[in-house]
């Protein structure tokens, strides 16, 4: 099973360690906020605050579970640039390894949202003509993201082939 998702050669390059902090923060923020809306609505409208408590309890369980998984999720990410293809792997329960030939890349995108920027992170996405090519690498340092983008664009141009 390790062989199935082994790097094509050498080692996987890993994401920035700061990505874990970002994941922890979003975990702590997102689920409680999402669950609080129905909880408060139910509580105010019906007065049955014990239902709200159950909803909040669910939120707490989800937060704890996701916090436990942050480390494993971070460790599951990896990418490798080889001569002709870019390899990306991720996923803990549902694992994926995607290989994108440079010659098939249509577009390379670097994105960084406000939260990511606060942590000094950026993500790089590759697009091919296929919508199912899911090749996004999150949690890179901006320098690494820019380097990767330039390198991929350069390789993509030199190996580009018509559709």
């Amino acid at each position: 099973m390790e062989e199935l998702f082994a790097p094509p050669a050498y080692e996987w390059k890993r994401l920035s360690p700061k990505y874990r902090s970002l994941r922890r923060l979003t975990t702590v923020l997102v689920a409680p906020i999402l669950f609080s809306i129905p909880a408060i609505l139910v509580g105010v409208l019906t007065g049955q605050w014990w239902i709200s408590a159950i909803i909040w309890g669910c939120a707490a369980v989800i937060v704890v579970l996701r916090l436990l998984l942050v480390e494993r999720n971070w460790r599951s990410w990896g990418y490798a640039e080889r001569e002709d293809d870019l390899y990306i792997t991720h996923g803990v329960l549902f694992r994926t390894l995607v290989a994108v030939p440079y010659g098939r890349m249509q577009l390379v995108e670097v994105e960084s949202g406000p939260l990511e920027r606060a942590f000094g992170l950026a993500s790089v996405s590759l697009h091919t003509a296929s919508a199912s090519t899911d090749a996004t690498i999150p949690g890179l340092t901006p320098e690494e993201a820019a380097r990767l983008r330039d390198r991929l664009t350069e390789l993509g141009e030199s190996q580009a082939s018509g559709l």
Partner: protein, 809 residues
Amino acid sequence: MTQQDHSPPPGTQATGVAPPVSGAPTVKQTERPHPLTPFIRGWLVLVAIIVGFGRDLLPNGSNDRDLSVSDLAWVLPVLSLVVLGAGLIGFMSWYFTRFVIDDEELRIETGALFKNSKRVAFERLQSIDVIQPFAARMFGLAELRLEVGAGDSTIKLRYLSRSNATQLRDYLLARASGERASRAQATLGPAASPLTDLTASDRPIVTITPQRLVGGFLLSSEWLVTVTITVVALGVAALNGVVTYALPGLIPLLIGSVSMIGRRVVAMFHFTLAESPRGLRVTRGLTNLTSQSVPVDRIQGIKVSQPLLWRPFDWYRVDVDILGYGASAGENNESDATSVLLPVATSVEVQRALDEVLPDIDLDAIELHRSPPRARWLHWFTAHTLRYGWDDAVLITEHGLLSRVRNVVPHAKTQSVRIQQGPLQCRLRLADVHIDTPRGPVNAVARELDEADARALAMSQLDRARAARKLDRNRLAARRSPRPAAQLGQTLPERSGDSPERSEAAVLAHLGIADDAFLGAGSESRVFALDVDHVLRLYREDHEGPVQVAAQLRALYDYWAATDPGFEVPRIVDAGECAGRFYNVDRRMSGRNFSGWLAEAPESERRVALLSYLRVASSIYRLPSPVAGFARLVGDGAPEHFPSLAAVLSAQLHRVIGASQARLTADLPEVAQVWAQWHTDIAGRVSLPYVVHGDFCPANAFVSRGPDETPVVTGVVDFSPHTLAADPLLDVTGAICFLELESYPAAAEDAAWLTEQAVAQLGEDIRPWIAVYRRFYGFYFSSAHRFDQRLYAWCLEQLRPSPVIGPSS
């Protein structure tokens, strides 16, 4: 050379001979869609409204808010208002839609308030459809629909006259396949039949009879499911005695079935798959006639499927992935492009169609591998139907028990490869391998493979895809070049080379040239001695641009063959292609390269030769220009005309300055002022347009011994995209200032001496203009910062601001 030699010979600029350089008219002709367009669109709105309201007007008993006939009193005025509005909008959109489809570009401009201009590279066209909705069809009009690939919306041109639409389609298909067709030729093609949109040159491969179409529809799973639900619902209602109440609930089902009949039967009526000179053509439709044209190499994947009840009849359905088709939301709308290659066909017909799409590939010969038996845990009934296999051209996956599906993906079309594994699969040591293709019906997944097999399949598929892409690239490059050499009278070998070295060796071996015949190399080509009188110019692999330039130069050289300007110009006697490489056979110039000669010549001879070099530079203008006025004579889109000298030179600079502007600004902060100053200066220059070499330097001149053994410059080579119809002083300046770049020690000294000679011959008033043209060359060659630091340093030197430069100061 004397002063009056330089005065223009009469009649040079307006030679009566037609220009030999192929090109477009000076003013672009934009076209508009057919003037009936707004009426058709208004009519379509009217029909839509009538159908919409009509549904409510029909008495169906159960509907409690149906309209009565008295309501028509207010319905009709509102209706006419809406139709009028739609017509007005249609008129505006028609009025502001313009398009250009000519030998150079495909451009569409739309929008009244927000102007939108879209220019599409011909190579990006994926498929071209001609669609005739019923109303348009009655007026002999058609819509042209262009798919331009991933991420871009469909381009719709509606409506054109049918003949215009089909001619444009043929022309665009030719260009999409990389041919250098001309629009004028396309109008000569055979006319298409209005009933089937097939021309005499189209060969039908498969025609689906109405009986089979209806039969296939009645036995299709979708139809049977709908019918079953209806019958069961009615039966239950009848048992409970509430049929009248159940009827309204069946209306959605009824509408669903009607639209299904529309999609599967009416839209597919008279379905014909034909082979046209430029790929496959699908024509279909009872009321709306749709004709789709797809170049075979644009097909990204194929899906062959067979529902359960089609099995006794040996019927199959074939779908294909085309870029752009999948993006439209409705998969099988009546008039929209569909991905259906064959709606209902027998295995023989399917095979015939596949032979066109995947020539020389026997899908049944491919060895198929099964998923391991433990896949049963995940796919209880279908595990034994999961198969995958490949050969050197395609990959196949199969699945399905009731409805059998086979997906075929050519290796070259593999967009990416994914291995996926869920938690259960992880337990069973199984994994899926996805071969990603553009959005569409094809979804090639090798399911439930043993882990080791999955890994091996994914990795080997990447290798196969890479090899196939490379093969595709080479094939494309080979097809884009002109036909092989006729004059050499030899059958050329099939393209064999993958590496440039190998293909070069193949060409040389074929033409019987020894390796030591190598004479020299330029940025685009390498030159070999062929025999006493000829040389072979072999272009680099990536030769799209040079091929066009070579064709224009050949025409230009032929045009000049009749004149004697006092020096030799090149002749191209043959051109062709061999082993994927494009080549020219040029007449061999007499003498030797002036640059090499200068480096070795004694000083006494050098000055003599330089004087003749200057004389040649100032007589290049004697070559007749093929066009009147200022122009760029060679290169993409040439001849390009300009109203003035300043315009043509400025345009030349704008073509290159983008690549070096940032670097120049960094190295020389004042460059913006110099740029502005240069433009002011050049506006003051008065000159008639003559042929200008544009890059006349010692390396592009040939020197021979005259009758009295004195060295004389006798030839000028390498006319190029730098060549213009402009001020002859440009070449005089070039001759002087490029001499400075020669590597022999006294080059700078000689250049200064040559400047004085030029001024002495042509008059003191050219001195400031030499300074202006030096700056022109400084800007023009400044992109050298990427490949020639010495040349770049020279450019910077020319561009330094100085107080005394320029005639206006």
